[in-house]
């Protein structure tokens, strides 16, 4: 595939700027695209018509007739053809990913809008911690985006649970793609107690349900890109592959000398916290909404995210995205780097032999952009496993320690502590993550060594280091899946 042009053959059929209508009620009949095309051609009078909101002069026409490559509204970018001034709304725009994506897409020429009710700031504050990379207030962020990058971001303070207000905002903005980050992303936070479990599940599950109903009512032709997690699949001890949402066509279930095809069925989910359960519930809600209402969605099963860098967030201190290192909101590599800087041994839970998929912040932004550029077809629920590689946690700790020592002269130790989670500590791991590179043209740009070095450089800045020091007592876990609240004991310390 020619680099960046993964979407050249897409047609108006999947373009969010198109109204589809016709004599066939394709939204209810459940026919596949091929069947509809056959029906159109042979039966006559059953045509589906496209009407372009951006090029009304085209009148009504065959939605398969114009490719993105041929359409002047889809413009050549590094990440594929992208709609000119594409309207993208980010739900949870104030978060670690949301803010980074807003600047990234704004710089690419998208018209970015977003909502947030500052839940993440409040959850972090409630736990008595803070983002160690200082972030500005939203008004200042918006001002800096305009001043430094020339980007106008249309923001509204809004709770994703407020379906009426969300619907109104969608009707006003009419986004052509919606990226849904407005969820609580923490497993340990969901395991603190009943209230926290309830809040996480309510915010995530009902928030996504609210989003689906609002999209259905206001902008059903828009693409929904929903953040899931690789954690939905769990880590099956059989070592069976973790396919991208669905079993492939040739998968077979064999039992008692009989065989059944599993092709096209959703793969099993095995969530490992109340947070992960909320993500699995989201999966089913989005999947069903696409089926019932012909919405279009990609569910992004994201590996563990890490990193601090994109060119846009690095352009000005006021544009930095948040960076959490506490036990609830700090992801593991981010936490390792913070520990290395303040002299806490890098902490592994249990055996430290757990394997996880990972992706750097900048690569995640590239993936989301490529998904936006190749919208799903009407009714399509697509799943991608978004990761650039997978590693044993112990090996990662060793990598971070080695970089800390070699490049930054730090004396870094590693420790294993009791595992507060209920999870397999030694397991096979066989994720399939070929769709993004094969079908969307994703090329990994950021390797772990490079991004970890960037993180050390930033976090070693005195003001940031002192903010890590302030909250160093909140890095080691005290939240046990068993419900206990106690410090973990060290099993082993090694260099």
């Amino acid at each position: 595939m020619k680099k960046g042009m993964h979407n050249k053959d897409c047609t108006c059929w999947s373009c969010p700027a198109i109204n589809l209508a016709g004599k066939v009620d394709f939204r209810a009949c459940g026919q596949s695209v091929e069947q509809i095309k056959k029906f159109q051609d042979e039966k006559g009078g059953g045509h589906i018509m496209a009407e372009c909101r951006r090029r009304p002069e085209l009148g009504l026409y065959d939605p398969m007739a114009i490719t993105f490559q041929e359409c002047p509204e889809w413009q050549d970018t590094e990440y594929g053809y992208l709609l000119k001034n594409m309207r993208v709304m980010i739900l949870g725009i104030d978060g670690y990913l949301g803010w980074t994506l807003a600047l990234w897409l704004g710089k690419l020429g998208c018209k970015v809008s977003g909502i947030d009710n500052y839940s993440r700031r409040n959850w972090v504050k409630e736990r008595g911690t803070h983002t160690v990379v200082p972030i500005a207030r939203m008004t200042e962020r918006l001002h800096a985006a305009k001043e430094v990058l020339g980007i106008d971001i249309y923001f509204r303070e809004l709770d994703v649970l407020d379906k009426v207000a969300l619907t109104e905002f969608l009707k006003e903005v009419k986004p052509e793609a919606i990226v849904h980050y407005a969820e609580c992303p923490s497993a340990p936070y969901s395991m603190i107690d009943f209230e926290h479990a309830k809040n996480v599940q309510s915010n995530n599950v009902i928030g996504t349900l609210s989003t689906l109903f609002a999209i259905h009512e206001a902008v059903p032709e828009s693409t929904l890109i929903k953040l899931g997690t690789m954690g939905e699949y769990g880590a099956p001890l059989t070592g069976r592959p973790l396919f991208e949402g669905f079993f492939p066509a040739d998968a077979v279930l064999k039992w008692q000398d009989k065989e059944w095809s599993l092709g096209g069925e959703l793969t099993p989910r095995d969530p490992v916290s109340f947070y992960h359960i909320s993500k699995v519930q989201d999966t089913f809600n989005v999947y069903e909404a696409c089926k019932y209402w012909w919405l279009r969605s990609y569910d992004v099963m994201q590996g563990v995210i890490y990193g601090v860098h994109t060119d846009e967030v690095a352009a000005d201190p006021r544009l930095r995205t948040r960076f959490d290192i506490d036990e609830w909101f700090g992801t593991i590599i981010n936490r390792f780097v913070a520990q290395a800087i303040v002299g806490i041994p890098l902490t592994l839970y249990g055996a430290g032999e757990q394997i996880r998929g990972f992706i750097a912040l900048e690569d995640a932004m590239q993936c989301i952009t490529r998904l936006i550029a190749k919208p799903p077809e009407p009714g399509q629920y697509g799943v991608v496993n978004q990761m650039s590689g997978y590693y044993k946690l112990r090996e990662l700790a060793e990598t971070v320690a080695a970089i800390g020592k070699k490049s930054f002269g730090l004396d870094v130790q590693i420790q294993r502590v009791e595992n507060p989670r209920v999870e397999s500590e030694r397991h096979p791991f066989n994720p399939i993550f070929s769709k993004l590179p094969d079908e969307f043209g994703f090329v990994q740009k950021d390797n772990i060594e490079q991004e970890v070095s960037r993180m050390f450089s930033l976090l070693l800045q005195p003001n940031i280091k002192s903010r890590i020091e302030e909250k160093r007592h909140l890095i080691l876990p005290k939240t046990w899946w068993s419900g206990q609240k106690k410090e973990v004991e060290r099993i082993e310390l090694y260099k």
Partner: protein, 429 residues
């Protein structure tokens, strides 16, 4: 009210002269029977091709397709192989209501979506994508919705259940009658036009029920026509003596035996080449193609300079047309010739848009429904439809026997508006 009288124009989509006369005679349509006793019923021709979008465009403009620019439900713009769907925006001539000084109410005329500003009320007919853009003035929309109006029956229901289809047909007609009544009472008008389009839908699916007394839906078929007749009756009961009443259909209808696919025949005889590796539909036509067909049976030469992979040079055009005409003159399915008539462009089209017209138009033989069928695997097949359009056997009715200009041989639907004008001139002189 104008002392010169008003004009009422009723359209019955697809209703053949023969069927109308028979249903009037057998008591299914008593109001029409009453009308026929006090006026003239003529058998007239449709446009070529004989489909509603072309025929109604000719009826409301009084023009040849090459003058109003509508040649079918689908078209391919020059320099593309992109199927497009012409609508009211594509109509290149003004409809009669935009040329007259009086106020008009126009209800359910096919191919007039989306509506635009005019002197009066306009609710478009099929194909209308949404009700919001089907109603002028927009302030009328809420009342139309309150009367449960919908533009067209959901014909897809017939593929699921004929009972569901008939129920929807009935609801659609009832709502149309209510809106007609509402507009008649609450609007001021000099011209009132309504088209009943469920008739065409019904005959496509259940022509066999018309012909066969033992058919399960025999009564349902006649029941729909009786209901249309009742609404026509309610209209004529409110007419004044000096009002002009004209009724017409846009084409005829007859039984359907087989679909025959023109592109499959062109492909079979080396006129059409299709590269499945390309992106689908007509875009797959490759550079060896000499001709292709759009629905219903319009054949276009793949001319150099006109289409992206056009290969036919001007000097070769005549020979290829000759060869294609010869092919279809002799082509038969099951021993029966598929064509009743074959027309070349210049025989049937005249006007500024003649370059957009098909080079050849085929008229199917009795029972043969000609279709484009680009990806059809066979040249012919059975179909669930039992009725098909005809170019002959449309009708024109004019109330009153005095001061009626004659309807000459060769009269077709594009002559109706001119006829009404001369009728007005005659009566109001």
């Amino acid at each position: 009210m104008s002392c010169m009288g008003r004009t009422v124009f009723i359209g019955l989509d697809g209703v053949p002269h023969g069927l109308l006369k028979r249903l009037a005679d057998d008591g299914t349509m008593p109001h029409c029977r009453r009308l026929f006793e006090i006026g003239n019923l003529h058998c007239i021709a449709s446009t070529i091709p004989d489909i509603s979008s072309v025929a109604w465009s000719s009826i409301i403009t009084g023009k040849n397709p090459a003058e109003h620019g509508i040649f079918g439900f689908v078209d391919i713009p020059i320099n593309t192989y992109r199927i497009s769907f012409p609508n009211y925006l594509s109509l290149k001539s003004k409809p009669f209501w935009e040329k007259s000084e009086g106020r008009s109410v126009i209800l359910n005329v096919p191919s007039t979506f989306p509506v635009r500003e005019m002197n009066g009320v306009h609710i478009s007919g099929f194909v209308s994508l949404d009700l919001e853009r089907s109603v002028y003035p927009p302030g009328l929309l809420s009342q139309v919705k309150a009367l449960d109006y919908k533009v067209d029956v959901d014909a897809e229901k017939a593929h699921v259940s004929m009972d569901m289809f008939l129920s929807d047909l009935d609801k659609t007609l009832t709502a149309r009658g209510k809106v007609c009544d509402h507009l008649w009472q609450h609007e001021k008008w000099d011209t009132f036009m309504i088209v009943f389009t469920g008739t065409d839908r019904l005959m496509h699916f259940l022509w066999d029920a018309y012909e066969d007394e033992e058919h399960w839906y025999y009564k349902a078929f006649r029941g729909h026509f009786s209901k249309v007749d009742a609404i026509v009756g309610s209209i004529i009961d409110r007419l004044n003596d000096n009002d002009i009443l004209v009724m017409c259909s846009d084409h005829g209808m007859e039984h359907l035996d087989k679909n025959v696919y023109v592109n499959a025949i062109l492909k079979e005889h080396g006129f059409l080449h299709y590269d499945p590796a390309l992106k689908g539909g007509f875009a797959n036509i490759d550079g060896r193609t000499k001709a292709f067909s759009l629905d219903p049976a319009r054949i276009y030469l793949n001319k150099r300079g006109k289409f992206p992979r056009g290969c036919v040079a001007p000097n070769d055009e005549e020979k290829i047309i000759e060869d294609i005409c010869e092919l279809f003159q002799r082509y038969a399915v099951g021993g029966k010739a598929v064509c009743k008539a074959i027309y070349r462009k210049k025989e049937i089209f005249h006007g500024p848009f003649i370059d957009l017209a098909p080079d050849i138009v085929l008229i199917g033989n009795e029972g043969i429904n000609l279709h484009s069928g680009l990806t059809a695997e066979n040249t012919s097949e059975e179909t669930i439809f039992s009725g098909k359009h005809t170019q002959h056997d449309a009708f024109l009715y004019v109330r009153g026997r005095d001061k009626c200009p004659s309807v000459k041989e060769g009269f077709n639907v594009s002559n109706i508006i001119g006829y009404i004008d001369s009728l007005k001139a005659e009566r109001w002189r």
